[in-house]
Symmetry: C2
Subunit: 219 residues, 2 copies
DNA sequence: ACAAATCGGTTGTTTTTACAACAGAAAGAG
DNA sequence: CTCTTTCTGTTGTAAAAACAACCGATTTGT
C-alpha cells in the first residue's frame, strides 16, 4: 500500500496532507488495498457499502446495464478520484450502479465512519480530510448536474454539442482529447452508437468540428 | 425567523438538534431569511454563492431554460430540504441552474464556511450539523443518480416507467400522487409534453397503469 | 506474421419523437 | 356567475433516433 502514498498525496481527499501524515492515517482510517483486473467489478449494483474508495491506479467506469443490455456509463473515475460518497449515510440503501475496472486497477477502501468521526488519537490533519471530503462530494455533485445538462438535451446533436462544449471549456481549448471511444461516448450520452457516429460526421461535413479518433476540435 | 425554528428542527440539516440549540446556532451560522413570491428567482444561473440554503416554506424548482426555450427541471425542493450544496467548494464557480419559487416561499441562507469550520464558541451540536450536511449531500447525490437513471432511458415510455416505478417504490405502494403536472413532468423527464401525454394514454389503454390527474396506479 | 476481435463509418428501414395546432375540461380571477 | 387562462388529451406531419447489417481499418493476442 505504501507505494501508493504519493498518489494519495495528490488526491483530492488528502490534499494538503503530508506523506508521513497520510501514512499514519492509513491505519486510523482502516485503509485496505484491493486489486482488480481489467473487466472485473469493483462494486456491484445491489451491494451495501460503508466505505469511501480512492482509485490509485487504472481507470473505472460507473455504469449500469438494463434488462435489454443497454449500457449506460454514469461516470468515469480517474486516478486520485474518490467514489462511493453517495452511500455514506447509514440509510443509503443498496448501490444503484456497477463500478467496473476498464484497466487493471488498484483501489484503497477507507472506513467512512472513521473519516467522519474525529478520532481520539487526534490526527492533526483529520479536519483537513473532512473538509476535502466535503469539497470532493460537492465537486462530484456538480459533475452529475453537468451530465444531467447533457442528457436533458433532446437530440443526439444537441447532446454532442453540450458534451463537447463542456470538454472544450474544461480544457480551455477548442482542441482536446476525449477519454471515450465511440461506443463509450454513446453509452455516456445514452444514445445509439451508429446514429451518433452518423451525426458526428454530418456535423463535421457542416464544418462545425473536426475529429480524428478521440481528438476533437470545435470550429 | 423564529417562527421557522420548528421547520428547521424537522429538516435534514438540523436533525437531532433541539429548538434552543438551533436558535443559538442561527447567529453562529449567520442565518438570513429571504422571502420570494411565486415565480421569483431565488438563485440565477451564473451567480456565485458561498451559502447553504434551507427551504422553510413553499416549494422550489431547480431548472434551466436553454436558448430555444426548452425548460429542464433538474430537481424539486420541498420544505425542510437543503440546496446549494454543490457549490460549497471555494473553486466551484458559477451556478449552473436557476432556482425558482413555484409557490410563495421562504428560504434561510447559512454561511457555508461557518458550518464547516468548528466555531470557537463551541456549539455542542456543531458536529451533528456537520454530519447531517454530509448525509444530506450524499442523499442528494443519490437522487441525482436516480434521475440520471431515468434520463438515460432511450424512449419516453421507458423514462416514464423508470420514473413511475421509482415513485411507487418510494411510496411503498403501486398507487401514489406525483408532485408534477403534465408539463412539469415532461420538463423533468426532458421529453415533449404532448408525446408524453400520448404515451401515457397508450400505456393506460394497454392496461399498464391507471391515472387521474396527478394520481397514478401501476398495475 | 497471422487470425481474431474491436472499432468506426455507412446505409436503409422501422419506430419514436418533436412540433404544431386544436378542443374540451378544469381552475382561477374579477 | 362569467370570462379568461391553464391544463390535458388528441391528431397529423415532419424530423430524428433506434436498429440491424455490413465493411474496411486498426488493434490485439498468440
Amino acid at each position: 500500500m505504501k507505494k501508493f502514498i504519493p498518489i494519495l498525496k495528490k488526491s483530492r481527499l488528502f490534499a494538503g496532507v503530508g506523506a508521513e501524515d497520510i501514512t499514519s492515517m492509513l491505519s486510523c482510517l482502516d485503509a485496505r488495498l484491493h486489486s482488480y483486473k481489467k473487466g472485473e467489478n469493483v462494486l456491484r449494483q445491489g451491494e451495501h457499502i460503508s466505505d469511501i474508495m480512492v482509485l490509485v491506479s487504472g481507470e473505472l467506469h460507473v455504469q449500469r446495464d438494463d434488462y435489454w443490455g443497454n449500457r449506460s456509463i454514469v461516470n468515469r473515475i480517474t486516478v486520485g478520484e474518490m467514489f462511493g460518497e453517495a452511500y455514506i449515510a447509514p440509510e443509503s440503501g443498496a448501490l444503484l450502479n456497477d463500478v467496473v475496472a476498464i484497466e487493471d486497477s488498484n483501489v484503497i477502501f477507507f472506513d467512512v465512519r472513521r473519516i467522519m468521526t474525529v478520532c481520539s488519537s487526534a490526527c492533526k490533519f483529520h479536519s483537513t480530510v473532512v473538509q476535502n471530503l466535503f469539497f470532493s462530494i460537492s465537486e462530484k455533485t456538480k459533475n452529475l448536474v453537468l451530465k444531467l445538462g447533457h442528457l436533458s438535451k433532446r437530440t443526439t446533436r444537441e447532446k454532442l454539442i453540450s458534451y463537447l462544449s463542456e470538454e472544450a471549456k474544461r480544457n480551455n481549448s477548442p482542441s482536446f482529447v476525449i477519454p471515450f471511444n465511440r461506443q463509450q461516448l454513446a453509452d455516456f450520452l445514452s444514445v445509439d452508437r451508429s446514429a451518433m457516429s452518423n451525426e458526428l460526421c454530418k456535423m463535421r461535413d457542416e464544418g462545425l468540428l473536426e475529429f480524428e479518433k478521440n481528438h476533437f476540435r470545435l470550429l
